[in-house]
């Protein structure tokens, strides 16, 4: 049973990687966007902040890595909606395969492409003056956390993609998720946010993960007087990922299993 599941999941992983190979434009676009944002925030917006430019860029690069990981919601949503509204799902549903392998393969393929996409983003970050200032083990932990968060975000996206009415609806809602990092400390510290917006931003999972990644890379200290997930960023991030995965994976798998019946 488990081996069948892994076998089918690997087959579906292969499917998604092949699709990307045939239509690389989407991947190129989703990878270029964060780089454009990084340069724009780093050199245009950043100049208006009180923080010195170089410090801000060291703060921004880990934030942008996390914001990019959060884009997994958008990508996951779009891919799942596409799949579930196209005929090929009928084929999978009439094959004697483990249905949960379909979303699993999608999430696994996403991790592969995300890991590859980190490289150019990191190179631009390095060129902007960002450095890993902590230990190697902590840095490895930061990368692990980024991928784990991406994985969780993708499952959130898969769930929403499956319940969306159409590919277009998923595209619109997915597009709106670019707002999520704006409501967090990914781009700018939340200290200056007005009252309730600040509370909201500090409870945003992206804030916890961004703080943890900055901490692990040794780029910025944990800000004092924050919400629990931000004050204990690594534990907070892991807790957020656990919550998102425990809620979304079973629901998404269930939706795939019973979908359309």
């Amino acid at each position: 049973m488990t081996t069948a599941f892994l076998y089918d999941g690997t087959a579906m992983l292969g499917r998604h990687l092949q699709r990307i190979r045939h239509a690389p434009a989407i991947l190129v676009m989703t990878q270029t966007m964060p780089i454009v944002f990084l340069l724009f925030f780093g050199y245009v917006f950043g100049s208006a902040l009180a923080m010195p430019g170089a410090d801000y860029r060291a703060f921004l690069v880990p934030g942008m890595l996390v914001a990019t990981a959060a884009n997994g919601i958008m990508t996951g949503m779009f891919t799942a909606a596409q799949d579930s509204h196209r005929g090929v799902m009928d084929r999978f549903r009439t094959l004697p395969m483990t249905r949960a392998a379909v979303p699993l393969g999608q999430a696994a393929a996403d991790i592969v492409t995300t890991a590859a996409g980190l490289v150019p983003l990191l190179l631009v970050g390095l060129a902007m003056g960002w450095r890993i200032e902590g230990g190697a083990l902590e840095a490895a932990g930061a990368f692990g956390l980024l991928l784990l968060f991406r994985f969780a975000a993708t499952w959130v996206g898969i769930l929403f993609g499956l319940v969306s009415r159409s590919e277009e609806a998923a595209g619109q809602l997915g597009g709106a998720t670019f707002m999520l990092p704006l409501l967090s400390n990914a781009y700018i510290p939340t200290a200056g946010f007005p009252g309730w917006v600040r509370v909201l931003a500090e409870w945003n999972p992206i804030s916890a993960v961004a703080t943890a990644v900055r901490d692990l890379f040794g780029n910025a200290p944990v800000p004092g007087g924050s919400s629990w997930p931000v004050a204990h960023p690594v534990a907070g991030s892991l807790a957020w990922c656990a919550v998102l995965l425990t809620v979304c994976v079973p629901l998404a798998v269930r939706r795939y299993t019973t979908g359309g019946r």
């Binding site: 499917r15 009928d90 084929r91 004697p96």
Partner: protein
């Protein structure tokens, strides 16, 4: 008894009282209203009906894609509701709309499905060859023509040798060449003992392929029989086009004598048409008789009635539930 008079193991597809509604309130569509089907092992059953009759819904219920609101069905010895995985192991499905991944090549599609079925890759390549897709195998499926896409779909359904093959409007919108390629594939399969349930809007297709035909209208079986019985009841439609206006009437007289039915005239096209139930009436005979009477004809056809014409006859002139 659950399956009433059909209770026997020789039926590979058996359904009783299938009901399916879509939506609710004002928007509610009653797609299936107690559909009973019984397809004997190794035969081809044609589900014939106009758009919206419920053909696709029936196929989706029988292939475990859709849960009926009421009724039960067994396919290849297993209940579609309680033993769906066992049913899936024994069926092949080619839906009305392409069920392949347009973003993958033909070869990648078949290899993926083969892998999910634990079959060797070589098997996928053999099928590409068999369906004449080798040359296009490495292009993404979205670039395929309608006929190629259909063949790829059919190939995907035949990776395993399914006990039952479901084909939902396999040739709708295809050119004659692609159509006959699909027909040949179906005939080849039935020779090997596969049971086939196909839906179609074409009487001719049912006549060509099916051993039994179920006319489906408004979600229930309106008529059952063999294609021959169907033809005997619906007859054929003969039409001749004459060379000059003056010959129109003479042609009508000859056709009246031949068929005993009243011909209808279409002066604009200089055409005379008549419905005939006489199976012995052949096109050469019509032409000979007209010639003998000195009627100058430029065209003559003898074709099966259209689905609408057949429905009108079989359902006693009742309006189609379109």
């Amino acid at each position: 008894m659950r399956y009433g008079a059909f209770m026997t193991s020789t039926y590979t597809v058996l359904s009783e009282g299938l009901e399916k509604r879509y939506g609710s309130g004002d928007q509610m569509v009653h797609a299936l209203r107690g559909l009973d089907l019984a397809v004997e092992e190794g035969t081809v059953c044609g589900l014939l009906g106009p758009n919206g009759a419920g053909k696709t819904t029936a196929v989706r219920v029988l292939t475990t894609l859709l849960r009926p609101d009421a009724g039960s069905a067994r396919v290849a010895g297993h209940d579609v509701l309680t033993e769906a995985p066992a049913v899936r192991r024994r069926i092949g499905v080619t839906g009305q709309y392409a069920s392949v991944d347009g973003d993958l090549t033909g070869r990648e599609n078949l290899r993926l499905f083969a892998r999910l079925l634990r079959l060797p890759r070589s098997h996928a390549d053999e099928l590409l060859d068999r369906f004449g897709l080798t040359a296009a195998a490495d292009r993404t499926a979205r670039t395929y023509s309608g006929g190629m896409r259909r063949r790829l779909d059919l190939a995907a359904s035949l990776l395993t040798r399914p006990a039952v093959l479901f084909l939902d409007e396999p040739t709708t919108g295809l050119d004659p060449h692609s159509r006959s390629a699909i027909w040949d594939a179906v005939r080849e399969l039935t020779r090997q003992g596969t049971t086939v349930l196909l839906t179609t809007q074409y009487l001719e297709e049912a006549d060509q392929l099916a051993d039994s035909v179920v006319l489906i209208d408004g979600g229930r079986a309106a008529h059952r029989g063999t294609p021959a019985e169907l033809k005997a009841q619906t007859g054929s439609y003969a039409e001749v086009v004459v060379a000059e206006d003056a010959a129109l009437h003479a042609a009508a007289v000859v056709l009246d004598q031949l068929t005993g039915a009243e011909p209808t005239l279409d002066p604009d096209r200089r055409a005379v048409g008549v419905v005939t139930l006489d199976q012995a009436l052949t096109l050469p005979r019509i032409v000979r008789e007209l010639d003998a009477s000195g009627v100058p004809i430029v065209d003559a056809t003898l074709r099966p009635p259209t689905l609408d014409e057949a429905f009108l006859r079989l359902t006693g002139g009742r309006e189609l539930v379109a």
